[in-house]
Amino acid sequence: MRMTPIFRVSLQALLTGRRWLLVLALAALYVALALILATTTSGDHAQQYVSLFLDLVLPFMVPFIALLFASDALGAEVEDRTIVFLTLRPLPAWEIVLPKFAAAALVTLAATWTPLVIGFLLLAAGEAGLLPAALAASGLGAVAYCAIFLLLGLIQRRALLIGAIYILLWEGAIAALSTGAAHLSVRFYALGVFVGMMNRKDLLPSGLASPAAEGAALFLAVVTVAAAAQTAYRLRRVQLQ
């Protein structure tokens, strides 16, 4: 199986890179907030878990962790040109892109889900229905973001900067203000999965618009496949000067 060694090397590269420090900082921030809320406040902790998920996890933590890992998965190899050790082999492009994507998605999921589970244990352990919804929504969102940022890393030298602007400006500001723009954001569909799966709708802010969970999940899957396919298509067409 030729994809296994690429997956292993990609995983090693991601785990030894310096971006882990930023990811750890993001995860630690979330856990610290959950801990503070759990120990210093006496309000509805499940409500706080949902608020943290909607205001911190979905709009910032998931996309930024995905950006840090996925843009580096191909981007770092393009930058230092080790990509030739993969592309100048008798492999179809998807055999390179798929393990790269899988490695980026795996570390992104690990780095996203671990603090989410810790936060759940700290704040909402009594509300068992919240955790699967949070894991599914963040997971599907993370995988879609990974596919998008893997492509961005391949075609853009400043993927980190462009990705950060995209997250803050489009997914954050514009999509939050306009319902039309929201329909073109990953966050909106991840929210749909969360809202559709959770059992405590009373914990959600009133007037929160979100798509049906099944349609949202399908949309995220389509985005993931389309971005990965586009990455494979572009891989052998990117010209390295």
């Binding site: 690429i6 090397v9 090693q12 040109r81 080790t82 082999r89 008798p90 010209q239 390295l240 000067q241």
Partner: protein, 331 residues
């Protein structure tokens, strides 16, 4: 490359940039690499312009100063770049979007970056696995043996010197025993003994029927690598053929010299009459001149200084840089 065989010295050509042509009367093996009217530009910048050449089995070198277009040519040949105009064929196939061709090609890229967390053995074995070799471990062992890296095979690449990295890069390119081995500045960082060993390796591979195509900006390196040379200057093919013939032309070129002496006027008065000497001018501490015949000047100058009762302190070349040597070839 063109000019393969015993009569290459006579067949060498130095041509005007746009018309550099292959001169081939040898009936040698089919060409491994063919570039037909290939140009490559990035926006306004022209990296290669109307380049035509063929490379045949054996060791061939692509020589030129930095920025001449060597790396661009190698990237076109390995399919990393697409030509803006013209056609590149390798092993009689188009190279762009043809990954199956990489079964038959090995590339030693110029860049130093490797996967620092891997050992040399893991890295070469990794290459073997991507080539779907039946026994990548044994193939890696053989390739590392070729470049004499077996002793350091289990050390991490992150701690390797430049020379060791070069040898590992060569091993990963050899692991699948390619018909065409392309090397971009492969001797960078290698010590003299390693250079000799690597050049021997290239000749061994060529003797077994492979095409070894090497880029270099170092004249002496190329001299030892093989007689077949392509010279690129400013993105154009400036010369093609046997190295000895090209080297002779380089030696015969006009040279500018600075002569440090006292009484430079007296020496200059005598030099004016020396055949091949021109553009004489007095400078602080001596004089500068151009000569078409450095050997005659070298013999005459001490005698002239003696006759003028002058002291000769030094004779310095003013244009011995590689760049000027290459530029001469396109004049």
């Amino acid at each position: 490359m063109s000019g393969e065989g015993g009569t290459v010295a006579e067949n060498a050509t130095i041509a005007a940039p746009a018309q550099a042509q292959r001169v081939d009367g040898s009936g040698a093996a089919a060409p491994t690499i063919v570039l037909r009217d290939v140009s490559k530009w990035y926006g306004d910048k022209v990296a290669l312009s109307g380049v035509n050449f063929e490379v045949r089995p054996g060791v061939s070198a692509l020589l030129g100063p930095n920025g001449a277009g060597k790396s661009t040519a190698l990237k076109l040949i390995t399919g990393q770049l697409r030509p803006s105009r013209g056609e590149v064929r390798v092993l009689d196939q188009p190279v762009v979007n043809n990954p199956r061709l990489y079964r038959r090609i090995g590339l030693v890229p110029e860049q130093e970056a490797l996967y620092p967390f891997m050992t040399a053995r893991e890295f070469v074995e990794f290459a073997g696995r991507l080539h779907s070799l039946p026994d990548p471990r044994a193939a890696a062992e053989t390739a590392l043996g070729h470049v004499k890296m077996l002793e350091a095979a289990d050390r991490r690449l992150g701690g390797f010197s430049k020379g060791m990295r070069q040898r590992v890069k060569i091993a990963q390119a050899l692991v699948h025993e390619p018909e065409l081995l392309i090397l971009d500045e492969p001797l960078t960082g290698a010590d003299p003994r390693q250079r000799v060993e690597l050049i021997e390796l290239f000749h061994d591979l060529a003797a077994r029927g492979a095409t070894v195509f090497i880029s270099s900006h170092v004249l002496n390196e190329v001299e030892r690598m093989g007689s077949n040379v392509l010279v690129l200057v400013d993105g154009k093919l400036a010369a093609e053929g046997d190295f000895r013939r090209i080297r002779d032309l380089m030696n015969d070129r006009p040279r500018r010299l600075r002569v440090l002496c006292d009484q430079p006027r007296d020496i200059a008065a005598r030099l004016v009459h020396l055949p091949g000497t021109c553009e004489l001018k007095l400078v602080d501490g001596g004089l500068e001149l151009q000569t078409d015949d450095a050997r005659t000047l070298a013999l005459a100058l001490p005698r002239m200084a003696q006759a003028a009762a002058a002291h000769l302190y030094a004779v310095e070349p003013l244009d011995e840089g590689l760049e000027s040597v290459f530029r001469y070839l396109v004049q």
